[in-house]
């Protein structure tokens, strides 16, 4: 491997000490002088007309400063399709609809006042499944679109599809075909730090928002629109991002509670903080979208894939978030996971009176990798081919252009398949454990690894500001939410500029000081930050070296004088310094400027800080601030056709699992798991392992435990007692991580994005192992003991 100083090393997490000592400040810890506590009154019905709201008693509670409803505040439209409102008027469409809100001097007064708000409803019939919503004559969740046009059905006006080749001919020509219907549940992102924000106006009507967001700049745009609605057109929002207690996709939209905090702050003239408690987080924050998928795929006699036909139906809930664009990412595995020449894809989203959904890690990818990889094992069984061999035979290769038009650059899928199966001892174990109900299964993934273009710009800006002490302060608009962005940013800047990581300080993310970034999603954080850092560093070094020409000879003289003082016998190098001090002759590494021709000569090296001071404090001197904007060379796909090279590279991986199934109880025990991922290049082993381990635990939860349960739109398990996420005990099995380094050219130092892939193939790998163990296939996540038992009974009948 190359001579990196810091890339690939275990560079320490810069904010780790603050987090381990309780110093890090989350939204829950922020206060402002005079701050009020905001609290929201949520709907008591899933679908109803609002007949009357009476806030008089609430307003009389001592300590209450403001009580607001949609009837006494300007309308603020929100959401991806602008079909949602900060506060609801006339009708509610889901249980969590925001009807009124209170700001009070203490949380108890706010809670008491919210209880005293009286709302009279006229209940309406609701639709709670996609089938109900699609039925002829079904009640409409939205009678009109956001532009006021009447709506005829509950189907969203978003078209996602793909057609390539000739599906019907391929189906007829296939020797083996597997098909099935699969589903994935609503799950809760379950950030340990709940959602919240703090809104404060200055005297001129400009807003400062401390927000738990992953999209500070799109949020700024959204909040500025809200300011316009308040009559504050032209005023500005500054979004500041505190420490985030987890993100996982919950920060990809702006939320009604944020606009409510703005309204309360505007009405009361005081800073207002709203923080959800855990029950509110479960009941009133959008969960991950559920999906139902019908899949058919086929292969020829040898096992080569011939076609794949996938139809997805998604329950969108009552309003539309960015999460409704899940099918944009579903297109990747559907068209491009393994080589398949003929592909058809359709996705439909429908409004219901259920809680509306939003993004979570993987963003549509796990939803369809689940049916694709499960059904692939059925196909292997039909063809009598080992599932590993089927996958190897159809493996993606570098240089391929997929039906979606993805230009595959590097591709480590084959190495991942081989590593995962090899480490799990697949050949020895597969199909041999039925008697003891043990089995092995595997599944792979493709995901964007070099940004993911789903917005007009997929770019990221960076500013490097240098001081007199050899430090670089980095302003970057992406969000550190625990994944380690600031750690790799620190490493990347140190490596690219040629200084030490201790001298790199990453500023708090703040729209007032950081340049634009589209958001921290699509596993793009480290990829974009690293590339932006490289771009800025290259320009900075050019300038530094030009200025160094002017100061280097004098600084060398100082060195020589100092060396002579220390050692009278010292003889300066026989070197024409003035002639050698040319911009092109310098290098800067680990905080020292030196001549490439004489890297080790102590007389011919200057410490970085000294160089900066020498350049600053001279006649017509200068200081350095360097910006750069990295915009990946990608295409915004045509979604209705499902075509476009949306990322600069693609990440691959394979997970292989061994399980044991208890035939009496249906319980599934994971015995071992190997996760092999094509990461391009390991930037930092500690944060990389953290990303994969954390995603794996979410994948295990998705596979075996997690489901937000609802009845007629009401969430039935709004707490961790009834909504089970894996604990240290559920994760008590050997996990082996294998990192395949493919040295991706578009990646910073060769790296690909890795944030999401770890949870994408976990569930189908487990399901395939269960199939190998006991011969039954569960098609609905989570795979609970009840479902396994039912499948075992059905197979015996």
């Amino acid at each position: 491997m190359s001579g990196f100083s810091f890339i690939g090393k275990e560079v320490r997490r810069p904010e780790g000490g603050d987090k381990a000592s309780g110093r890090a400040l989350y939204i829950h810890d922020l206060t402002r002088p005079g701050m009020l506590y905001g609290k929201i009154k949520f709907s008591a019905h899933a679908h109803a007309r609002i007949k009357r709201i009476d806030t008089t008693r609430a307003a009389r509670v001592p300590g209450v400063h403001a009580v607001i409803t949609a009837y006494d505040t300007p309308e603020i439209r929100i959401g991806f399709l602008r079909d949602n409102f900060a506060l609801k008027k006339d009708k509610v469409r889901q249980f969590r609809d925001e009807i009124a809100a209170v700001a009070a001097a203490d949380p108890d007064a706010a809670a008491e006042a919210v209880d005293l708000i009286e709302v009279e409803y006229e209940p309406l019939p609701g639709v709670f499944t996609p089938e109900e919503a699609l039925a002829v004559g079904a009640p409409l969740v939205h009678e009109t679109s956001s532009d006021g046009a009447p709506r005829a059905s509950n189907v969203l006006d978003l078209a996602y599809g793909h057609d390539s080749g000739d599906i019907e001919a391929a189906r007829r020509a296939s020797r083996h075909v597997a098909s099935g219907e699969y589903s994935t549940p609503l799950i809760q992102q379950s950030c340990m730090g709940t959602a919240g924000c703090l809104a404060e106006f200055d005297a001129a009507g400009n807003l400062t928002m401390w927000a738990k967001t992953q999209i500070p700049f799109l949020a700024q745009r959204d909040f500025n629109q809200a300011l316009s609605a308040l009559g504050l057109r032209g005023r500005n929002t500054r979004v500041i991002v505190p420490a985030l207690g987890g993100g996982f996709g919950t920060g990809l939209d702006t939320h009604a509670y944020e606009y409510i905090a703005i309204l309360l702050a505007w009405r009361s003239g005081r800073p207002v903080r709203i923080v959800y408690d855990r029950e509110e987080e479960f009941s009133c924050l959008s969960p991950r979208q559920s999906a139902r998928t019908r899949i058919t795929q086929g292969c020829d006699a040898a096992g080569r894939l011939t076609f794949r036909d996938v139809e997805v139906l998604q329950d969108n809930g009552a309003y539309t978030s960015w999460g409704a664009t899940y099918p944009s990412v579903m297109l990747l595995p559907v068209t491009s996971l393994y080589r398949v020449p003929n592909v058809r894809f359709r996705a439909r989203l429908v409004y219901t009176n259920n809680t509306y959904c939003q993004a979570m890690r993987g963003y549509g990818n796990p939803e369809v990798t689940w049916p694709i990889e499960s059904s692939l094992d059925d196909l292997a069984a039909a063809a009598g081919i080992d599932p590993l061999d089927l996958r190897l035979m159809n493996c993606n290769e570098p240089g391929e252009v997929t039906p979606m038009g993805l230009k595959v650059t590097t591709c480590g899928l084959r190495q991942c398949l081989e590593a995962a199966s090899g480490r799990l001892r697949w050949r020895e174990k597969r199909g041999s454990g039925r008697r003891v109900a043990r089995g092995v299964g595997m599944a792979s993934l493709i995901h964007v690894g070099g940004g993911g273009k789903i917005y007009r710009s997929d770019g990221s800006g960076i500013v490097l500001k240098l001081d007199d002490f050899g430090n670089v302060n980095v302003s970057y608009g992406g969000v550190e939410m625990g994944q380690g962005l600031h750690t790799v940013l620190r490493q990347a800047v140190a490596e690219a500029v040629g200084i030490r990581p201790e001298n790199v300080f990453v500023n708090q993310t703040d729209t007032a000081t950081c340049p634009w970034d589209v958001g921290t999603h699509a596993s793009r954080g480290a990829f974009m930050a690293g590339n932006a850092a490289l771009l800025a560093a290259a320009r900075l070094r050019e300038k530094l070296f030009q200025w160094a020409e002017q100061v280097f000879p004098a600084e060398v003289e100082r060195n020589v004088r100092a060396l002579c003082r220390k050692d009278p016998a010292y003889r300066p190098p026989d070197f024409d310094v003035a002639a050698s001090a040319r911009a092109g002759s310098f290098d800067l590494k680990e905080g020292w400027l030196f001549l490439k021709d004489a890297p080790a000569d102590p007389a011919l090296r200057i410490e970085f800080a000294r160089l900066l001071r020498a350049v600053h404090y001279r006649d017509r001197g200068t200081i350095f601030t360097q910006e750069a904007f990295y915009e990946p060379d990608t295409e915004l796909p045509d979604w209705s056709k499902g075509r476009g090279n949306m990322s600069e590279n693609y990440a691959y991986g394979t997970q292989a699992v061994e399980v044991e199934v208890d035939r009496e109880t249906g319980e599934v025990k994971i015995l071992a798991l190997v996760a092999a991922h094509d990461v391009g290049r390991v930037l930092n082993p500690v944060t990389l392992k953290g990303q994969i381990h954390g995603a794996l635990a979410q994948g295990v939860g998705y596979a075996l435990y997690e489901e937000v349960k609802t009845r007629a739109g009401r969430i039935l398990n709004p707490g961790f007692t009834d909504y089970k996420i894996p604990t240290a005990c559920e994760m008590d099995f050997p996990i082996e991580l294998v990192f395949v380094e493919t040295d991706e050219q578009s990646g910073p130092f060769g790296a690909k994005g890795v944030g999401e892939p770890g949870m994408v193939p976990t569930a189908p790998a487990i399901a395939n192992a269960i199939y190998d163990a006991v011969g039954v296939r569960v098609k609905d996540l989570p795979i609970t003991p009840e479902k396994v038992l039912a499948a075992l009974h059905a197979s015996r009948a």
């Binding site: 275990e10 309780g22 829950h28 730090g193 380690g484 944060t687 953290g690 979410q698 240290a728 005990c729």
Partner: protein, 163 residues
């Protein structure tokens, strides 16, 4: 109606007013300004609020404030030494990758600290068992367990050298 409770917080005596219904976490995060203790659920389900009372890990969101009268409470702020240097356990959490978003970290670290007070060299199973009440959504626990093992190992090797 409010009572005054007096106890030792991170080695220093404190006296603070508390309503009879107040929870320990309310005192810590409110009048005492120790916001390192996190509230993740308020229901005893997540462990983010874990602190040590007389050396035993408890959920401060369930613990009545008045019951700390005369007892000794350790929060995350109390683990580092007087000069602010992190304790070996905290260091291990940072180095091994046991900290990501960090919201579970104070509670997780104190739960582990409680275990290490009882058992100097816990097995992996004991560590996992002990931490089962502390939820973490970021790490998948592998590096947290490694951090506790590393800290325990360091402590016992130091003792070994001293002996």
């Amino acid at each position: 109606m409010a009572h005054v409770v007096s106890f030792e917080l991170n080695g220093r005596p404190v006296s603070v007013q508390a309503e009879p219904w107040a929870r320990l976490i309310d005192l810590l995060r409110g009048p005492l300004g120790h916001t390192g203790t996190k509230e993740g659920c308020g229901e005893g389900e997540c462990g983010a609020c874990t602190v040590l009372v007389d050396g035993a890990a408890i959920n401060s969101c369930l613990f009545p404030a008045l019951e700390v009268e005369g007892r000794s409470v350790t929060t995350i702020e109390g683990l580092q030494d007087a000069s602010g240097r992190l304790a070996a356990l905290q260091e291990a959490f940072v180095e091994e990758g046991g900290v990501q978003c960090g919201f579970c970290s104070p509670g997780m670290i104190l739960a582990a600290a409680g275990l290490l007070l009882r058992t100097q060299d816990p097995s992996e199973a004991e560590i996992r068992e002990e931490l089962a009440g502390n939820l973490c959504r970021c790490t998948g626990y592998a590096q947290i367990v490694a951090a506790v093992q590393a800290a325990a190992g360091r402590a016992s090797s130091r003792e070994g050298q001293g002996a």
